[in-house]
């Protein structure tokens, strides 16, 4: 973990299936409503395609499918969270984005081992609040380009 110092962290809270996730606010550029997405052939199935984000062609990935959950039809609450990691700007499709909260750095706990293993350590930790549990995303891992290539290769193998 980069920072272990005591301090406040602002999180955007969003929903996937019945789980609540958090992403650091300073990595989130904007939250968009669903709009037309152009499919890009030859990409892993979690890559939904690209969309026109105010003149910038932005790749969009379906976070449910990225985490191997079932796909869900778009609803009124579906949102695209545009995050920036390094030079990359990528949109993440989530069921809904409903909250911004402050948490203490010290409240972040390491993810349970089994979860970390199961999900390619895309989880940075968990945050326990009064009556809810937040899963803190490791965005760099979620958008890891190597992962993308690995999945691509896997699919090519399957095709052969």
């Amino acid at each position: 973990m980069e920072t272990t110092a005591v301090g406040d962290v602002k999180l955007i809270v969003f929903q996937l299936q019945d789980e609540e996730y958090g992403a650091e606010v300073d990595k989130v550029r904007s939250i968009e409503r669903m709009q037309h997405i152009t499919r890009v052939p030859g990409t892993p199935d979690f890559v939904e395609g690209v969309m026109n984000l105010r003149g910038v062609v932005t790749p969009i990935i379906d976070l449910r499918r990225r985490f191997r959950m079932n796909k869900r039809e778009t609803t009124d609450t579906t949102r695209i969270i545009i995050v920036q990691v390094g030079e990359m700007e990528v949109g993440l499709i989530v069921d809904s984005a409903n909250d911004v909260i402050d948490i203490q750095q010290s409240n972040i706990e390491a993810a349970p081992d089994s979860a970390a293993e199961a999900d390619d350590s895309c989880i940075r930790g968990v945050v326990k609040l009064e009556n809810r549990l937040l899963i803190l995303l490791h965005l760099e891992k979620v958008l890891d380009a190597d992962e993308l290539i690995a999945v691509e290769n896997l699919e090519e193998h399957r095709e052969l």
Partner: protein, 658 residues
């Protein structure tokens, strides 16, 4: 003074001066007796020193100072401009370049120059130091000037020597100089100035300068006219003595209390000439980039407007949109033109590189550059340098033979490498050719087979051209000895990839014993391209017009099958058919019909017919990248935003045709 404000200017100008020094030194090496060249080098070095000192770059100033001394020695024929001397000067220029690069990247421009300064110093001392001549106040006239003056005298024109001192708080020196000259020219003809007109324009002087004017008016009139120019401190005008400098006591008119005895810095060898007044301004490249970006937005909106007007069917709106389309078309060509820069910007560093390279490899190489004025978009220019360096190195390392080998095969000892750029249609071609040994096909094949690039059976069936193409496959270098020039594992495959990402192609041709030609084809611009929009099922794709031969409608019954591969007969050629629905795994939404729409595309001499569902039409689009995240998408070279705001992918035909 806020230095940052001037830093960009300093970097630009010092880069230009260094380039000029490099160019002229190379010329000097060829014609050592031509002293006008060394004058030019000297002037560039001097200006550079002045600029560096003003900006406070001590190491730069120090090194330029010593280099200038050596140059001065060459100029006064105290030092012989031999190869060793020039090597040291070249090395110092290298150091200077690195310091300027450092400054440009935000550094302090510091560098340990003691070694090179020492070498330069030794050069100076080896030679008998001539008595330091006073360069000041001596006006020398060459034959031409003397002749002009004599002729003028016969016609009643008197040569006046005019000393002008600007006041020390003058802001725009060059502008004042211009005004002074303008004033002088009302009375006669300015035939010479010290410093030279160029230096005056560049403000490479302190506060004083002098000019020789041929005039039929009286000295007092001229003096009074010049004094009217503001910020001129004093003017002395006297008849010029063609042999002795004018004494300054005569005819002094003080405008302010300022003395005129400060020295005039330089002696100029040429008569004053007024540079042709092509009016140019320097514009920061970032501004051009943002102009381009804004224009791209406009093109997208234009597409949108076109669509809306078509839907609404209002003739007024349609007319206005058409007018706007025309205007933005003009605007586009202007903006694209502004971004065009001559390839010379890339080429000009090659002579220097070739010189070093041929020395290193013990080969004699002459580089002939032609078409350096050919223009390309800046984005292409920025990227094309490395591949060209690689091709040139390749030509010298693998192409040109050693002098002994060349002589034994009846060629001149010095090999020739040609770099030729020209413009044709929507493309610019750059050819790198050498008169070396040509490509050894056997050796290429051997390597390719042992490297597993082709099988032995396949190899026997390859045409010459296909064999040469093998050079572009990765892990193939035919130099037997690995030099550190090429053959470092990064081969011609890197060159090919780079050029293809720029939307260009590269081909090889070679004939044994006569040499090899690499031909690089590049698009004029990268950012706005013409495409044919097509629909595959319900998805829209853009096919670059540059790849399209034509579009056609074919019957299903016209499709043949050759070894499982569907082909069609297209104007006598057997062309493989590629169903884009299948290739791009497009969700099927259309019923199969009897007739198919195909787009015939090509890559070099190969063709393919792409099966689509509908042709939407031709359109100018703005090429956008898919971004880092999706950079490895196959057969898609980018994306664009259509009039309806949706994104359409651009098909990379080069990747489709194998």
């Amino acid at each position: 003074m806020d230095k940052n404000q001037y830093l960009d200017m300093f970097i630009d100008e010092s880069t230009e001066h260094l380039q000029a020094i490099n160019d002229n030194l190379l010329r000097l090496e060829k014609t050592p007796q031509d002293l006008t060249i060394i004058d030019e080098v000297f002037r560039s070095a001097h200006t550079l020193k002045g600029m560096a000192a003003t900006m406070g770059f001590e190491d730069l100033t120090n090194l330029t100072h010593h280099m200038e001394n050596v140059l001065d020695g060459i100029r006064n024929e105290r030092i012989d401009a031999g190869s060793e001397v020039l090597d040291i000067v070249f090395d110092s220029v290298d150091d200077l370049e690195q310091m300027v690069t450092d400054v440009a990247s935000g550094g302090e421009g510091r560098r340990d120059v003691s070694v090179i300064v020492d070498r330069l110093g030794r050069l100076e001392q080896d030679q008998p130091a001539a008595a330091a001549q006073s360069e000041y106040e001596t006006l020398t006239f060459d034959e031409y000037e003397t002749a002009v003056v004599e002729q003028g005298r016969e016609q009643g024109y008197i040569p006046y020597q005019v000393f002008v001192s600007l006041s020390e708080n003058v802001v725009l020196k060059a502008a004042r100089v211009f005004m002074v000259f303008e004033a002088l020219e009302k009375y006669g003809e300015v035939i010479k100035s010290v410093p030279s007109a160029e230096q005056l324009e560049e403000e490479a002087f302190d506060f004083d300068f002098q000019a020789i004017v041929l005039s039929s008016h009286a000295a007092e009139e001229i003096q009074a006219a010049v004094l009217k120019v503001s910020e001129v401190a004093s003017v002395i005008c006297a008849e010029a003595d063609m042999h002795k400098p004018v004494s300054q006591e005569r005819n002094i008119t003080e405008k302010e209390s300022s003395s005129t005895d400060s020295a005039i810095a330089e002696r100029a060898a040429e008569p004053a000439k007024h540079a042709p007044a092509g009016k140019t301004i320097r514009v920061n490249i970032d501004r051009l980039d943002s102009l381009m970006n804004l224009f791209e937005e406009l093109v997208i909106d234009r597409g949108r407007l076109e669509q809306i007007s078509k839907e609404l069917g209002s003739s007024d709106l349609t007319e206005t949109v058409e007018h706007m389309t025309r205007i933005s078309g003009d605007l586009q060509s202007i903006i694209l033109n502004m971004r065009m820069v001559p390839v010379d910007q890339v080429f000009n560093r090659f002579p220097r590189m070739i010189r070093g390279l041929s020395k290193e490899l013990g080969k004699q190489v002459e580089l002939v550059i032609s078409g350096a004025e050919t223009e390309l978009d800046r984005t292409v220019i920025d990227e094309i340098g490395d591949p060209l360096v690689h091709l040139l190195r390749n030509s010298i390392d693998h192409g040109i033979e050693s002098p002994a080998d060349r002589e034994s095969s009846g060629k001149p000892a010095a090999g020739t490498v040609r770099l030729h750029a020209y413009h044709s249609g929507n493309h610019v071609f750059i050819e790198v050719s050498d008169d070396g040994a040509g490509i050894n096909k056997e050796k290429v094949l051997q390597k390719a087979i042992s490297g597993g690039v082709v099988s032995e059976e396949a190899a026997s069936q390859l045409t010459d051209r296909q064999i040469y193409e093998l050079l572009f496959s990765s892990g193939l270098s035919t130099a037997e000895q690995l030099s550190d020039i090429s053959g470092r594992g990064v081969g011609l495959d890197v060159v090919k990839n780079k050029i293809e990402t720029l939307g260009g192609t590269v081909t090889i041709d070679s004939s044994p014993g006569e040499g090899t030609v690499f031909s690089v084809q590049l698009p004029l611009t990268l950012s706005i391209i013409s495409v044919m929009l097509v629909e595959v099922q319900q998805e829209k794709y853009a096919v670059p017009l540059s790849s399209i031969i034509e579009t056609a409608i074919i019957k299903r019954s016209d499709i043949w099958s050759v070894q499982q591969q569907k082909v069609i007969d297209f104007r006598g050629h057997v062309v493989p058919l590629l169903d884009l629905t299948e290739f791009f795994q497009v969700p099927v939404a259309e019923e199969e019909t009897d007739e198919l729409s195909v787009v015939i595309v090509r890559k070099g001499e190969k063709m393919a017919a792409l099966v689509v569902h509908r042709f939407i039409g031709q359109q100018e689009i703005v090429l956008k990248s898919l971004g880092d995240y999706l950079k490895n998408t196959k057969a898609v070279s980018g994306a664009t935003i259509l009039g309806d705001g949706q994104v359409a992918l651009i098909i990379d035909c080069n990747a489709l045709i194998q």
